[in-house]
């Protein structure tokens, strides 16, 4: 199931990787839900719930990061290295 994703992990540009990370998050949620049932311990769905809730904070942080960098590098052209 997650096999296709491994290859996405090696994607060419930075944003592909973010995309892959996001997909990975969704897949982990699904995976956890399925495994919880394979184990017969449905009370562990909390975990998947936690992921579903906070997984996208990372992506929002990326957006904020890029936005900041865009603002700073618009002013002086040598941020970063």
């Amino acid at each position: 199931m997650a096999l296709a994703l491994v290859r996405a992990l090696l994607g060419p540009s930075v944003y592909d990787r973010v995309l892959a990370a996001n997909m990975f998050g969704t897949k982990t949620v699904l995976l956890l839900a399925v495994i919880a049932f394979l184990y017969g311990r449905p009370d562990f769905l909390d975990l998947a719930l936690a992921y579903a809730l906070i997984n996208f904070i990372g992506v929002l942080a990326v957006l904020e990061f890029i936005r900041r960098r865009a603002i700073t590098s618009a002013a002086d052209h040598n941020t970063g290295s």
Binding site: Y39, R41, D43, F44
Partner: protein
């Protein structure tokens, strides 16, 4: 099958060493910190692996279900706290790196040493 039983430990060893490599070979301080957290994760994995018992489930009693095998709760307790402590210490490390960047203008190890030598 006998060898398969040790696979987890091998992965642990390999991960540990990947982290270790990042710490000793990469000059970049943030990379070192990421390496350190990989190293840390490897140790976590080792502990949790040791706690696993065949056919066991997580050590939470279920009402009405008797006679279950539970995995070892002790390593889990240790690691649970260690993860949170880990992120706090990583944050501290990042704080130091940022301060170094402000003082030296670089986060590469050899450049910092260069500046120090002057």
């Amino acid at each position: 099958m006998e060898l398969l039983g040790l696979y987890h430990y091998w992965i642990f060893a390999v991960l540990l060493m990947i982290g270790f490599y990042a710490v000793i070979a990469k000059p970049n301080l943030i990379k070192k910190l990421i390496g350190l957290s990989i190293f840390q994760s490897a140790v976590f994995l080792l502990y949790i692996t040791m706690g696993k018992v065949d056919g066991g489930t997580a050590p939470i009693f279920q009402a009405g279900v008797g006679d279950q095998v539970f995995s070892n709760p002790l390593p889990q307790v240790l690691i649970l706290t260690a993860i949170v402590v880990g992120i706090s210490t990583t944050a501290l490390g990042l704080g130091i790196v940022v301060r170094i960047k402000e003082e030296y203008g670089s986060i590469e190890e050899h450049e910092i040493q260069e500046i120090d030598r002057q």
